[in-house]
Amino acid sequence: MSIYTLGIDIGSTASKCIMLEDGKEIVAKSLIDVGAGTSGPQRAIDQVLQEAGKKREDMAFILATGYGRNSLEEFADDQMSELSCHGKGAGFLFPQVRTVIDIGGQDVKVMRVENGVMTNFQMNDKCAAGTGRFLDVMARVLEVDVQDLGTLGAQSTKYVGISSTCTVFAESEVISQLSMGTDKCDIINGIHQSVASRVAGLAHRIGVQDQVVMTGGVAQNTGVVNALQEALGREIHTSPLTQYNGALGAALFAYQKYQKAHKG
């Protein structure tokens, strides 16, 4: 009989679920664009169960992760930090991974992974510069959709320097560039380089080793990925499941924990 496990990643800006069969096959996934403290987690859970045609009782083990992981105490069997879950998920998708860079809604994490397990990490300080929220703020000022940043940045022809020290300062720099008539595509490219420079600094602290995998929603932005590749001088691998990576890791840990509990 198949064993189904569920991983739920409640981030600060989105809620993601992954259902696994026997710790290998992805049966269903869901993503709702609001995170901790909203209806997002419940909606994401309902959606993933519905898609798989399963009920709570069919799940052998449920593991929550992410900023809002503690809010599911009654529903989930256990919780783990998103650090381990991102390491685990990346290890499943890229077995050779040694460095995982995750840019989430409000934090940036760089993890060292050995044999598919996170063994050390670095996180950003309290400043939001370099996070997903930073890009959201910039997209709003530029009046473009955050999803289009990658495509627009690729059309840049001129270097524009944007500060990576502070979101508020960077925002005023962007406004000032706009008022000077600078091309939006160049500004966007500058923003991507600003994010990359900050994240690269964090990555160097832990020591970057191949393979480097980038996870989290921001990994869908090719502009940031390319700028980071350039800043690190290494190839960065991404997956179409990038946004689900934390939930995937949680579902894998859920399977592992279920197995451990039922071994003896």
């Binding site: 930090s81 998103e82 650090l83 044999n115 996170m118 063994t119 996180m123 300080d125 309290k126």
Partner: protein
């Protein structure tokens, strides 16, 4: 059930209480009292029989009593930037006469109780009593506190005292100042500053001296970029020791008492030796106490290391610990699953929050850098200079790494939790490189979190909890990898 406190801990608490109580008495008697930085050569002041208090220890106490924010804000209103050390801001506000006080009604002279304060009321079975009207736990009225407001002792002293009502009001306002000892430290008649502990000290003490119009006795110890202290550096500081003695002679009108000085040195050495032996008890597995206890005992090494009572109290604690190890007792209220080094000063205003996830995951702090930083023993004046040359922020990174890696090995830690302390840039600044070396040299994971030793506005509980959990998971993975 009340927590059992060992005789050694009680003795240590009394030693610190006495430092402040003696100073209050001395001030009342018209004697000179001083404020000193934590690693100023206290032996010099002891030689003159001076009562000295310690603003760093005071600021930690004020912060732990949850008054750090109001005092930091008071300093910011005086014009000090919020980037400055939280201890310095608290101390500068205090020097300017600012006090955390209890709010009261000036007409009735009754305290105004903050309804949000207090602990939940418990019934005879120890269960929390729920208020049927609100559905929320009822508050135990005995634990409820008045609102905290900022007051100013100079404003109070300037109030008129002509009518009975005015006198009663003035007295009540004096009494309303928070009653704990750190909020009732007498104003200084002189200040003693040694910048070995950090460079911010210099300006901090210059400002106090100017605000209070009192003399400043300064000993400058430059950052030491080599592991050894060169003879020329010793001569530079030794010259300042001699000058400080001369300045203290002028201040007190007394001659330097060599006998008293030698006695203070003997006591300081005895205290330091006992302190080191107490620190070594953290090497036991499980440890009979926690590094957080050591943070509290630091107060004694800072405020009273030249007093014989401090040495005796540490020796008593040493006996308690020997007994605890023998019978397998520990002050840590959970089974020790992981052992970590806690790097940096704790976030005093957030101690319970700091402790919560550590307790949840069975993490005991079994190493802190204060052991070598304050455990110095010397045999003559030049050796004393060399000893005072070595403080966490005055030694080079090689020495800093060596201190820490030594404790990590001896105290058998599985990981390192680093406090990136917004108040202490010199200390936090080189931690990124240190973290890298700890992992490379010792093969252990490290996690850093943002916080502040005194200003609660710089700490985020959720961020901290994620980092602690990440560290625990990495330590677990590390252990599994080692086991193969």
């Amino acid at each position: 059930m009340a927590k059992e406190v060992s005789p050694g801990v009680l003795a240590l608490r009394k030693v610190v209480e006495d430092v402040y109580a003696d100073a209050r008495v001395a001030k009342k008697e018209g004697k000179l009292v001083g404020w000193s930085s934590s690693k100023f050569p206290c032996e010099l002041a002891e030689a003159f029989g001076l009562n000295v208090m310690y603003p760093e220890n005071q600021a930690a106490g004020i912060a732990a009593n949850r008054d750090g924010e109001i005092m930091c804000k008071a300093a910011e209103e005086l014009g000090y930037d919020n980037d400055i050390c939280g201890y310095a801001r608290i101390s500068l506000a205090y020097a300017a006469g600012k006090r955390a006080s209890r709010k009261f009604d000036p007409e009735t002279l009754e305290y105004v109780i903050n309804p949000a304060s207090g602990r939940p009321l418990k019934d005879a079975d120890g269960k929390v009593v729920i208020d049927p009207e609100t559905g929320k736990p009822k508050k135990d009225p005995k634990t409820m506190q008045p609102y905290t407001v900022l007051d100013d002792i100079y404003e109070i002293e300037a109030l008129p005292e002509t009518t009975e009502k005015e006198i009663a009001y003035k007295n009540f306002r004096r009494e309303a100042i928070k009653p704990y000892r750190q909020m009732r430290m007498p104003q200084p008649d002189f200040v003693l500053c040694c910048n070995n502990i950090c460079n911010c000290m210099t300006k901090w003490y210059e400002n106090i001296a100017r605000m209070c119009n009192v003399p400043l006795i300064m000993i400058d110890i430059p950052y030491n970029n080599t592991v050894e202290v060169h003879d020329s550096n010793v001569a530079y500081v030794r010259g300042q020791f001699d000058l400080a003695i001369k300045q203290l002679e002028e201040l007190t009108g007394k001659k330097f008492d060599e006998e008293k000085f030698n006695e203070a040195c003997k006591n300081a050495n005895r205290t330091a030796s006992a302190w080191l032996r107490v620190c070594d008890y953290l090497q036991y597995k499980p440890a009979p106490y926690s590094g957080f206890d050591l943070f509290n005992h630091m107060a004694d090494v800072v405020t009273a290391r030249g007093r014989v009572q401090a040495a005796e109290a540490f020796e008593l604690l040493e006996k308690d610990l020997a007994e605890a190890v023998k019978v397998g007792k520990t002050t840590t209220p959970f089974p020790e699953k992981y052992r970590v080094m806690f790097e940096g000063i704790p976030c005093w205003p957030k101690l319970p929050n700091l402790f919560k996830p550590l307790k949840e995951h069975g993490v005991n702090v079994t190493a802190v850098v204060y052991a070598p930083a304050f455990g110095f023993v010397y045999n003559n004046m030049d050796e004393m200079v060399r000893a005072y040359y070595k403080a966490p922020n005055s030694v080079c990174i090689e020495q800093g790494v060596s201190w820490r890696e030594g404790i990590c090995k001896d105290n058998k830690v599985d990981g390192v939790l680093v406090h990136y302390n917004r108040s202490c840039k010199p200390w936090s600044g080189y931690m990124a490189e240190m973290q890298r070396r700890f992992t490379e040299d010792l093969g252990i994971p490290c996690a850093g979190f943002d916080g502040d030793q005194a200003d609660p506005r710089n700490f985020n509980e959720a961020q901290y909890e994620t980092r602690v959990q990440g560290l625990v998971e990495a330590m677990e993975a590390n252990a599994e990898n080692k086991e193969g």
